[in-house]
Symmetry: D2
Subunit: 439 residues, 4 copies
Amino acid sequence: MLTDRGRALLRWRDPAGRVTAPPGLPDMGELLLSRRGEASGVALARALVAALEEADEARRLAFLETLADRFGPDPEAVSRAMQAVARDPASVEAVEALHVAAEPRRQELFRRLNLAPGGTAALVRMREELLRHLKDSPALRRVDSDFAHLFASWFNRGFLVLRHIDWNTPAAILEKIIRYEAVHAIQNWDDLRNRLQPTDRRCYGFFHPQLVDEPLIFVEVALTREIPDTVAPLLDLDRKPIDAAEATTAVFYSISNTQKGLAGVSFGNFLIKQVVEELKSELHQIQTFVTLSPVPGFAAWLAREREGGKMLPAEVLAALTLLDQPGWHVDKDAARALREPLLAAAAIYFLRARDGKGRAVDPVARFHLGNGACLERLNVLGDVSANGLKQSHGLMVNYLYDPDRIEANHEAFAERTEIAASDAVRRHLPATTAMKEMP
Amino acid sequence: MLTDRGRALLRWRDPAGRVTAPPGLPDMGELLLSRRGEASGVALARALVAALEEADEARRLAFLETLADRFGPDPEAVSRAMQAVARDPASVEAVEALHVAAEPRRQELFRRLNLAPGGTAALVRMREELLRHLKDSPALRRVDSDFAHLFASWFNRGFLVLRHIDWNTPAAILEKIIRYEAVHAIQNWDDLRNRLQPTDRRCYGFFHPQLVDEPLIFVEVALTREIPDTVAPLLDLDRKPIDAAEATTAVFYSISNTQKGLAGVSFGNFLIKQVVEELKSELHQIQTFVTLSPVPGFAAWLAREREGGKMLPAEVLAALTLLDQPGWHVDKDAARALREPLLAAAAIYFLRARDGKGRAVDPVARFHLGNGACLERLNVLGDVSANGLKQSHGLMVNYLYDPDRIEANHEAFAERTEIAASDAVRRHLPATTAMKEMP
Amino acid sequence: MLTDRGRALLRWRDPAGRVTAPPGLPDMGELLLSRRGEASGVALARALVAALEEADEARRLAFLETLADRFGPDPEAVSRAMQAVARDPASVEAVEALHVAAEPRRQELFRRLNLAPGGTAALVRMREELLRHLKDSPALRRVDSDFAHLFASWFNRGFLVLRHIDWNTPAAILEKIIRYEAVHAIQNWDDLRNRLQPTDRRCYGFFHPQLVDEPLIFVEVALTREIPDTVAPLLDLDRKPIDAAEATTAVFYSISNTQKGLAGVSFGNFLIKQVVEELKSELHQIQTFVTLSPVPGFAAWLAREREGGKMLPAEVLAALTLLDQPGWHVDKDAARALREPLLAAAAIYFLRARDGKGRAVDPVARFHLGNGACLERLNVLGDVSANGLKQSHGLMVNYLYDPDRIEANHEAFAERTEIAASDAVRRHLPATTAMKEMP
Amino acid sequence: MLTDRGRALLRWRDPAGRVTAPPGLPDMGELLLSRRGEASGVALARALVAALEEADEARRLAFLETLADRFGPDPEAVSRAMQAVARDPASVEAVEALHVAAEPRRQELFRRLNLAPGGTAALVRMREELLRHLKDSPALRRVDSDFAHLFASWFNRGFLVLRHIDWNTPAAILEKIIRYEAVHAIQNWDDLRNRLQPTDRRCYGFFHPQLVDEPLIFVEVALTREIPDTVAPLLDLDRKPIDAAEATTAVFYSISNTQKGLAGVSFGNFLIKQVVEELKSELHQIQTFVTLSPVPGFAAWLAREREGGKMLPAEVLAALTLLDQPGWHVDKDAARALREPLLAAAAIYFLRARDGKGRAVDPVARFHLGNGACLERLNVLGDVSANGLKQSHGLMVNYLYDPDRIEANHEAFAERTEIAASDAVRRHLPATTAMKEMP
């Protein structure tokens, strides 16, 4: 690769064909936007992509900052277009022209960079790097907006391809599944095989034609005979697979985004719904589609409540002190005593608690409820790994995807922050709290 | 297909899940843009695509007109955003917000329509239909702008795939090659095979991952030992192929766009240059890349000149009267006598004549010269088919793609309308005319 | 190709690496069987394949005759092995050694020829050529036996791949479907598309991994709502397809072997049965699997009977004189009058007539009945094309493949020449004849 | 699988279609050879394959023994055929008939078993099992002969497909590379990637179309700038790859057969020669093709010689006592002192020593020399792993594949056991021994 890139740079020529030193990154950007970019767009884009990879991080950051500064919309053109609208506010054409004039020049630059082989991947990496610098260099947010706008269009679900990932998938893709799995880390290739090869396991991912070996998002699915309440048996290397034809339930036990550079482009919603369709058409007898999900915000919220919150009844608070006893989860009596208080606290956490913006506190809950799923069940001691205990005192939950109710759930959640939850979950609300719910 | 579409429409449900009559097309569009569209984007997009195909042309036209009318930018949002810019003209953020506010709602509608399986193809067909109505319904031009903007981004060369089209290509694609060939019509499958199967013939096309069996553009190439001056021997069913390893010249003798709905998105330039790269790396000994091209504007221009133009010297005009003699091209004497006058007229046509906008008259010339090619040779009696005689009195020309000069040629042409031409072509300019060229 | 072959021959070297003239074909064969063939099998095989293609037909025939003569088993080895068996008739090992000694050297030669790229195809062509000479050169039958033995092993059904042939199949394969169709000639590519593309049409073929673009056999299938009695509507370019989901019946209306060089290797039986499996698993509602078949031996047999046979009752014979009236099939009265006599004659033809070897007379009947099918229905005026009238006075028949009865039908036919036929067919037997059937 | 097999067995029906208990394995074999096997070959073969997998090892062994006993040639047919030959010894047809009569019925049984999906794989497994029992049950050798004969024909190189195995190969195949690597064990997936992914590493295997995910044999290749003398640097996880374009040498450092059931079918010779072709056409600058090979028989032979052999000169014997000093290979002085004696002993081992059958002693040497390679270099301390020290006192060697000399080398080796060796190797022969070589 180095050699190729090197060659591309050495090959830099002025329009008369003379080999010269390549210009700086911003000048290459300007050239790509110029008339010369029309004739030699692919070559110039390739050279700029190569130069970016060759550059060190400081120069790349400087380039991003230049993009923020100097590649916005042309101020004069904007001003002229605004005057035209002011003159004739009813002119649709004038408003249209204003829209065009106000488009940052970055967008066309990115479209032209995309002409290079590997251009899409390079742009995704550029944004990933940008996001790391965003805090220290807030002006980059403008550049980020343009990335976000373009990527939402380019990575439109219509351009994505659903692929089944299994033990016949190329290793170059599988090693990325290992690397990107974000929920229940994959220990090694045996662990991976255990999630892909048995007849009661499935994995699906969205791919984009331009990012050949890169899954954008993937979901791991277990086919089971009932809704599971703990994750360990699902991942057990020694478990005995069941025949897929005997499964009644599909469990989405892990879903992972892979490309930080595509942050904000929404894939998960589409992926889950399409996998539901796939499984329904392959295995008619599967009727239940649920997740087995972590509750990453629960422990932190509970700590705040125990320190001085007002949402938990006194008797629940009192009972929860047992949580401070190390190893409570392996102490049968302690675990039994904590069960009801934890369920009560969890019910309040999901159904009553709101964050500063009035949203459900739990990010995973926001994702699934926003997709139109329903909170189906709370599982005490669902994940007793160190991480599971730390983030949620071992709590896991199931979200149910019921195709007939997804749309109504989504609307109620999006417009009125109404949480779709089963009666079983609601029953865990302490009586006093439950009252408040009545209209 | 009918059944599927039918089912999709019958399946229409209100948010509570009750089956109802589907709404009208514009209302479906509004729904797709609404909150409900977020939860059920794929299903709603699929329903709207189905409804569009089900509708008759009048209803589809009405829908397009509604798009022009009611799916532009939100006027109030634009007005607010303009006021913000007016208050603080230096605010980059305000200009950015203005850009967003001025985006026609159609663009988001099209992006959401694209969620449907087959959505991209449906949108391309929509624009093809729109273009047919544009003359009678000029307001549609606004909608067309949004199509053009989105398609330029979606069909960016970075997303296209170059494929070799040969006798092992699926018939479903090959029949489209037959249908779309726009330069030298393909008579039947034998004619097609003769252009694809021999070792000295090649065909390449650009494909988009979402339009599986649809070449967007394709070019037919003959590998030869010299630059050809007539097209008939290239297409002869009985010709004897040469070994590809003996060829020195690649002749692009036909290039055809296929999708009217993608008008204005430029593919040809990229295609020719990439095919040059492909051939260079496969067959090192090929050094010359030329076209054998028609001259579609020549006969009409010449008729105008003969009726009262001022560009042709009198002796040339006099000699050209022989053209009025039917069958001159099979009369050796007549053909010989016409040779020089035709070449002179052609040289003037290419090097001197300009249309009302100051551009080169010939559309094919504008394409190749705009790509940076050079006018290499004029060929009298290059195409004596009925069509060839009618449009150009049999004249064909070769444009040369010399990688080392493409960029300079393009810039000179784009900025100063300078025509790159070989000395051989320039020599055909009548002396008096040639003078004028001197600075 | 010529060049490559030429080069291969020019490259001939003696073991010391000196370039020499290549030896004659038989000597090359001996070399390939020698020690040198062990070290350089691929190269020698390639050279012999090239030399065979370069040779003219006379030299190739001479080579085949040499194979018959000089590449049989080694007589001395056979004699020694026989003596060993004679000494110890109970020795299994001695008999085994005799089997090995009696193997013609040709078989190993063919196995080594198969080392060459394209060797399998070359051997199949060799046998095709051999079969053309067999009549004039009966000694070639020995060579043919070895081909037949090897091909039966190499083209074992376990090595064949069933492929769906449709409008997405490469043209290089489709043109062979056009060329090889043996039952109802395919007129052109439109006719072909009409048999492949509609949702109620299917085509399947067996392929061998070594003969990449060559279907070995293929069958064309129509999906219908009832058992058809004439072929013309099935092939009609203007017919309206039905939805595959509405079909109840799969009609095998054409089955064609393609490789004369594989004569005697049986594919059709396997193909039909596998296609039945495929269709059953794809379209559960299809319950009836029939053919619509020609009756190629009927007219000739009937002519013999009318000239002096004894199988037809006098009244049937008398009625059949109407057949001599030209155009009877378009004369409603004549056609009506002929209907019953033709059915009676056909019933006798299928159920009673036997050829010199005691077999059913009709070759198509022998194929389907031998596969275990049952003669389901006789269709007068089933094929009124010139060929249909000529070979069978327009008669077509349906053979029914009923998976539950295939095995029993096959055994009864193979062991006792019992013809499986429906009651409907049997009822057409004239009363007197029907009597004879009683035990 | 269990379920499927179970179903297949339960589905057993008599010819009248009644469900019955399936017969024993030998009876199923007889059925498959009978008339019923003609009609329902695929179904019967499938049932027998399933029954074999269901059976325990004892029943399978009994079946193999029955095959040896009862599925040989028909003795009466053999006897009749022998009488016919005796009557007319000159009759080619009689000898041919004898060959057919003497064919064991097992061969046809195996061909029919191959009709089942997965039949080929099942037969390969059957033979693998047979080979394990061969010592205890010598009659099985007859069955083995038939397997060997059929497999040599079915796995003819002409039917094999060469595939490049790299990091894009499906994991299901790669895990078999890990499992089957027989020379330098692959520790884990990182080790595997290190052998497949770098630009200066290649791996190729032969596959058979019927054994989809099973490489039959594969070779690992390193591209280097010189002939390597030790294996450790080649396998080092931290080594720095070179650009393939800079390599001059291709090193075959590991070649592994995978299918015990295909023992005796020769693949390695073809594989190495084809890979040489592949690499030559991909990387023109590579001129040297060598192995880096173990010497598995050296230590054992040397021990015998030291105990009482006569091939080694006394001074060499004396010097070699240092080998008994533990850790000599890490003691610089000892290693230096042993260098020449080891080289002398190795030269004698390769060039002089012969086993009881007069063959070269070393099995790896027999393989490469039999392929026509030449012993190029002896490398002391080439493999100082525990295994390397144990089997060959650390010795490794390079065999050179020189396309121009392969054929002559092979013939000399096969006919006269002449060992092709470089002068460098020959020079290590002690003077007295070297003398003996003179004619």
